[in-house]
């Protein structure tokens, strides 16, 4: 286990930023830490990286307790804080060398790591430029290179793509994926597609508590509601409710049918099927046997956005009541 978090709680004054969360990160995994702003992601990361201690609870990194072995833990972690703070008056090489030296690297090892990280992160061409002159995308690369310079086992990245343009986001994600092959990575984000694009597993956190934990497929499965099928069909009748409605209502595994009105001869329906069943085939057969023409049929599965939305808003309402 690369990281083990047990009953972690952090209070700011009387406000609970993180409330007794427990989770594990397996070695080699890319874990997405997903939640709305202010959910407790950054606080959790600051605790894991030994920036500040928890109010209560325990964290182990590579089997070492962060309270007792803070020094060893910090050697094993590469950290990219929120907003990617950098010394804007230093140039890229100076800055990376500074970070490397503070991690105890020197001489030949230092030089080879510098070269390697600049190549991997694609910043070799700008190495003599002041960081203040670089674009956000390059700064982010410098931040990642800094986090990786001492070849840490664990990478903690706090919102690594925030503030970047779409092209830069794709580049940084690829870089994280590439770097993450040999590392354990925890990255936080409030953007769902980020998790879909980069992570093996996701933990959704809201108001300081974990509301979901699993792979994307699992989450989608677990939180998928019934499927909704919207239907448009052409039938020569003015009384859809008595003629068409019962035919569909009859179908096995159909929970409910809603009539959405008509435009000329085209009638609109919305059909809700039971969880895990596909009723589209039967709908088609019935329509054909009655001589109705299907103009449109589409199915809407619960998207991850909906899952996320449901978890981070419905939950809020429940806990607030």
């Amino acid at each position: 286990m690369a990281i083990a978090v047990r009953n972690l709680t952090k209070l700011y004054g009387s406000e609970k930023a993180v409330d007794a969360i427990t989770f594990d990160v397996k070695t080699g995994e890319i874990l997405g830490f997903l939640g709305p702003n202010g959910a407790g992601k950054t606080t959790t990361m600051k605790i894991i990286t030994c920036y500040m201690p928890p109010t209560s609870g325990m964290v182990e990194v590579e089997g070492l307790d962060i309270a007792e072995h803070s020094f060893e833990v910090r050697k094993k972690i590469g950290y990219l804080p929120e907003m990617n703070p950098l010394y804007l008056d230093m140039n890229v090489v100076e800055y990376l060398e500074y970070s490397a030296r503070l991690h105890g690297l020197k001489d030949a090892l230092l030089r080879s790591r510098l070269k390697e990280m600049m190549d991997v992160c694609g910043i070799a061409d700008v190495r003599h430029k002041d960081i203040g002159e670089l674009s956000k995308g390059f700064r982010q690369r410098v931040g990642l290179a800094q986090a990786m310079i001492h070849d840490p086992e664990v990478l903690i990245l706090d919102e690594p793509t925030s503030g970047l343009d779409p092209n830069q986001i794709v580049e940084i994600r690829n870089l994280i994926r590439q770097l993450g092959r040999a590392k354990t990575v925890v990255l936080s984000t409030h953007i769902l597609s980020e998790v879909q694009a980069t992570c093996d597993r996701v933990i959704i956190i809201n108001e300081g508590t974990i509301v979901a934990d699993g792979t994307l497929e699992q989450l989608q499965q677990d939180f998928r509601g019934s499927e909704r099928i919207s239907l448009e069909l052409k039938a020569n009748t003015t009384n859809a409710m008595t003629v068409i409605y019962p035919k569909f209502k009859d179908i096995r595994h159909v929970e409910s049918v809603e009539y959405g009105g008509q435009e000329g001869e085209v009638h609109k329906f919305s059909i809700l099927a039971e969880k895990g069943f596909d009723v589209r085939e039967e709908i088609f057969r019935r329509a054909v046997s009655e001589g109705w023409v299907l103009m449109e049929m589409s199915r809407k599965a619960t998207s991850l956005e909906e899952v996320f939305h449901k978890l981070t808003t419905a939950e809020t309402i429940i806990t607030k009541q």
């Binding site: 990286t49 920036y51 020094f71 703070p85 230093m90 500074y98 503070l102 105890g104």
Partner: protein
Amino acid sequence: MKFSTKEIPKVLGTLSNVGTIFKKELRSYFNSAVAYVVIVVFLAIVGWMYTSSMFLINVASLRMMFELIPLVFLFVVPAITMRLLAEEKKAGTIELLTTKPLHDWEIVAGKFLAAWALIGIALIPTLIYYVTVVFLGDIDNGPVIGGYLGLLFMAGVYVAIGLLASSFTENQIVAFIVGLLLMFVFFMMDKVLIFVPDFMTSIVEYLGIDFHFSNIARGVIDSRDVVYFGSVLGFTLYLSVVSLEKRKW
């Protein structure tokens, strides 16, 4: 006495961490205009005020200069130290620094030494005035050596105070003003003795920085003065470390 060889890498590691931070801070003074401005300002103010009065008293001594520089320190030192920690806090880089395998006191020591060294460097050009005085007349070297030593001690204490002020806030202006005020308190202590109740005068006088500076600047290096500078310096740096650890409370 037994000495464990296991301690050697630890000590070397610490030295190299302090050295790395020291070099980075000193370089950033010279990369920005700060260092040059400080040196020029120092040389200009001291030179003008000093030479304009020297020919009036007609004595070959640097006493006037050594009386003047502590005043200049009051404004120059907080300007140098204000950014040391406040800037890191503002930019968020403090988070990077404190999550490296470093002790907080190594950060404080590295930054302190860099700012102190800059003052030392800025003092070097003032040797020009010494050279001119040597040409003009006979000079007693004792007070000159004592004076420079006193200035270095004083600068050390002021830099430590400025660093402490910088650790309180992420606003550099606030750090400057707080630093200046704290230094001013130490500077004024031995000058307000008439307002102090009798039984406290000796304590207040002992706390005043100028009192100890003028002792050393006379050319007499007394252990009491050295102890004073050492303990104020050490205590202030210790407070900076505590203040930096405040994030953990």
